[in-house]
């Protein structure tokens, strides 16, 4: 029994929460967070400086919580449009399991906590980058770009691309060209990934009034732009080998993965306007997830093996 006046609570619109810890965890967008954790980890391991494993774990945890916090702020702000989209209607806020106020408080507290933890225990450059990422995703992307321009995910994609730079900065205390190339790979990967989704979910986005590329420029233009981004992404994926950061093994794997990306994008380019099933777009969406995971996994393995060979040969 709670010591609270029932009538007073009704007057101020208060209700006892039924949200569980799982609902709050869902606010962190765990699937997006897993990608952030993985790419940040690759940036951290690829950095040419030895780091205490415990501090590395804390850095990854803080980056994950920071990314999750920006997800919670996104769900707080976007609850109105999430409610009308089939893909997002089941999220905790539009489903009524978590109140908007709870989501906002949760996001703000975790934002401050993650940035301060990273700053105090690791270094302030990585903390500043994490703070910028949260701000960019929650304010620049969610509150401004998303509902205003079809370039929303192109520019907003920068927020999702920064984690390897933060991981690198957590270890070295600096930002390098190598970490910026990892940023560039994710940055160029984002538009074809999301536009493939937007092609077969265009009704959803139209209902929510979000100006995604297929709804603004049309499916044909979107398909051409997807292919153009694929043509740029494929060689950029190989760039770390070209610049001598990795072995030829990574170069070969990234070239094959890039060729696969172009192939799937080519199939999307050839899709008919009246194709309702949109299998090529769905296939590209699935492959793009595999591509990003595989290319970063290849980079990770190459970094570890390359360093071991260097140490062994020295």
């Amino acid at each position: 029994m709670a010591l609270a006046d029932h009538k007073l609570m009704e007057e101020v619109g208060f209700r006892m929460s039924e949200a569980t810890a799982g609902d709050f965890f869902a606010l962190l967008k765990p699937r997006v967070m897993s990608l952030v954790v993985f790419t940040a980890f690759v940036g951290l391991v690829a950095a040419p400086v030895a780091v205490n494993p415990l501090l590395a774990m804390i850095a990854i945890l803080a980056i994950a919580i920071g990314a999750g916090a920006s997800g919670a702020l996104n769900m707080w702000y976007d609850a109105d449009i999430d409610a009308v989209m089939t893909r997002t209607a089941g999220r905790p806020v539009p489903a009524g399991r978590v109140t908007p106020g709870e989501a906002l408080s949760f996001g703000l507290v975790l934002s401050v906590l993650s940035v301060m933890t990273l700053g105090v225990l690791v270094n302030w450059l990585s903390a500043a980058l994490l703070a910028f990422t949260i701000f960019f995703y929650a304010v620049v992307y969610t509150m401004w770009l998303k509902r205003w321009t079809p370039q929303n995910i192109v520019i907003g994609g920068a927020a999702g691309a920064i984690p390897p730079v933060i991981g690198w900065a957590a270890v070295t205390g600096s930002v390098s060209l190598e970490s910026l190339i990892l940023f560039l790979i994710i940055f160029l990967w984002t538009p074809p990934h999301f536009w493939a989704l937007a092609l077969f979910k265009s009704d959803d986005y139209a209902r929510a009034g979000i100006p995604m590329m297929p709804n603004v420029a049309g499916p044909a233009s979107t398909r051409r732009q997807i292919f153009a981004y694929a043509l740029i992404l494929a060689p950029v994926g190989v760039l770390p080998w070209v610049l001598g950061y990795t072995t030829a093994a990574y170069g070969a794997v990234s070239a094959v993965l890039g060729a696969g990306f172009v192939w799937y994008a080519w199939k999307v380019l050839g899709m008919a306007d009246d194709d309702r099933a949109m299998k090529p777009a769905k296939a590209l969406f699935g492959y793009s997830l595999l591509y990003l995971f595989a290319i970063f996994a290849a980079y990770l393995v190459d970094s570890i093996v390359g360093r071991a060979l260097l140490t062994g040969g020295a």
Binding site: A2, L3, M16, A19, T20, F24, L54, I58
Partner: protein
């Protein structure tokens, strides 16, 4: 001693609300305990060597 007003209408939590509150309480407890451990261990790892140098002579 403060005595609750017997005429005051109190909120009775439903079973679902009680379970959700318990679930949240456990999660908050675990999270705070983890935070304490993280800061405690990280402080030792990061400042352990410096801390050992804090002899009375150095502090003066």
């Amino acid at each position: 001693m403060i005595v609750a007003d017997k005429n005051l209408e109190l909120v009775t939590l439903t079973e679902r609300q009680r379970k959700a509150r318990r679930n949240r309480s456990v999660a908050i407890g675990v999270a705070l305990a983890a935070l304490v451990i993280i800061f405690y261990v990280a402080t030792i790892v990061k400042f352990g060597h410096n801390a050992s140098g804090l002899t009375p002579t150095n502090l003066m």
